[in-house]
Symmetry: D2
Subunit: 146 residues, 4 copies
């Protein structure tokens, strides 16, 4: 399965008056990790609109918060595909500070297109090449795209 | 069980280039709803530090996204206590646009204090009056506090 | 000149570890005020793309910070058009807590369209009806639009 | 005068429905740059509370927006001290994409302490060593602090 690791330093503006990361900001971090993972799989948010593709919306999310993070913390986020189905896939994020796991999250995203006939948005089968890269069965795509 | 309803208009800055609410922002909305619910139960974030209380951190979160929201949408969020235990409690948020449920979220929060002896943060029994108000067994507290 | 007043309660997530509003968030508030003022003048961000209109980007901003705001503060923002020129206009925001002015900001925005011939974005003359409403010489437009 | 350069990639969540960076986010970027510059000068936001120091609030800000930035843009921000006075100093930020200047900002910050006698916050003379480092007359301090 495709994986991606990213690094980040917690900014002053990420934190709330309790001095710790305001929890919605963790989901901004994870959203960026998913975006980067999907780029490795060969598509980008910029491709919105091409071939009727309208995005890969989040439909389910679970998270566990085990330890807080604070200003200046140098965190690591390990992101990986967990399962790829016909038209949806699951991604897991594990945010750590050194050896300590602080937050884990599990998300399900669905591949959506605009139906050419009806104009409505509906889920659709993942393109074969994308699915293969998400499963780690084809090489990463970063080089072709940027 | 204690409940709270709030209203909000989606702002331009809440939305991303797909033209819909950037999903982490839903958790900012829910965080504010929880804050307001807890004020109804008689404590406030401002009380941090009093009696060793250090906050009520989120430990688990689940969410389902059923429909997107966009700039100008007038949404309603129904927030309610679902369960109150010895030192933790669960809250549910249901964000709707008219009759349509767009996002639901379920969170678990833990009552935490700083141990006077060790200086460490640990969970503690919820104060009786707070627990009673969260359960809806005592009148709301807004009037006393603001 | 057209004016607009809005009210807001400072949220926990608006504040930073110093316990005060993280200053970039004031510009989110002001951005929303400008959006609402422009709706009163008869156009909306949703109109992007119509008639080649591509938005009204901010080109200059000045702000003075006189007092901080904190969680729970019930603030008022008085927004008003200051000057309307051929293709640009100036807006002032005054954010107060009770009688105390906390932050003032002054912004210049330019009316931009996509040139049908070249495809490039360029400034253009403000539509007459919009300019008249911004100057307060024509009735507000809210009723027609929402 | 002390200078600092930082790099950043524009994230999906930094952008609004027009597909460009939501302008308040530029001030979040600049705020982080100022924080990093001040760390080079030898103090950190974590030091809040030490020796009565309560922060270095922004009192004036001016910005010019010349070009927009969009998702995926790899920007550079050049930050530098422009003037150091008795109890305040000015910082300039220049945000560029390649050779193109997109946004410039100029901010004035004031050194504030809590008066031990009255408990009130007031401006105070910048510590000598900090002022010398801001002026570039003493070596950077990063090594001692992190």
């Amino acid at each position: 399965m495709l994986t991606h690791t990213s690094h980040r330093v917690i900014e002053w503006g990420d934190c709330d008056p309790a001095g710790i990361v305001f929890n919605p900001n963790f989901f901004s971090f994870f959203n960026q990790c998913t975006t980067e993972l999907c780029e490795l799989a060969g598509w980008r948010n910029q491709d919105l609109g091409e071939h009727g593709f309208v995005g890969c919306p989040l439909v389910q999310l679970r998270a566990e918060f085990k330890a807080s993070c604070t200003y200046g913390d140098k965190i690591t986020i390990a992101t990986g595909v967990v399962e790829v189905r016909r038209s949806s896939f699951d991604i897991e994020h594990r945010l750590s500070l050194g050896q300590n796991l602080c937050v884990s999250a599990y998300e399900t995203r669905v591949w959506c297109v605009r139906d050419a006939a009806t104009g409505k948005i509906r889920s659709d089968r993942l393109p074969e090449d994308l699915a293969a890269r998400l499963r780690g069965e084809a090489p990463e795509a970063r080089a072709d795209k940027r």
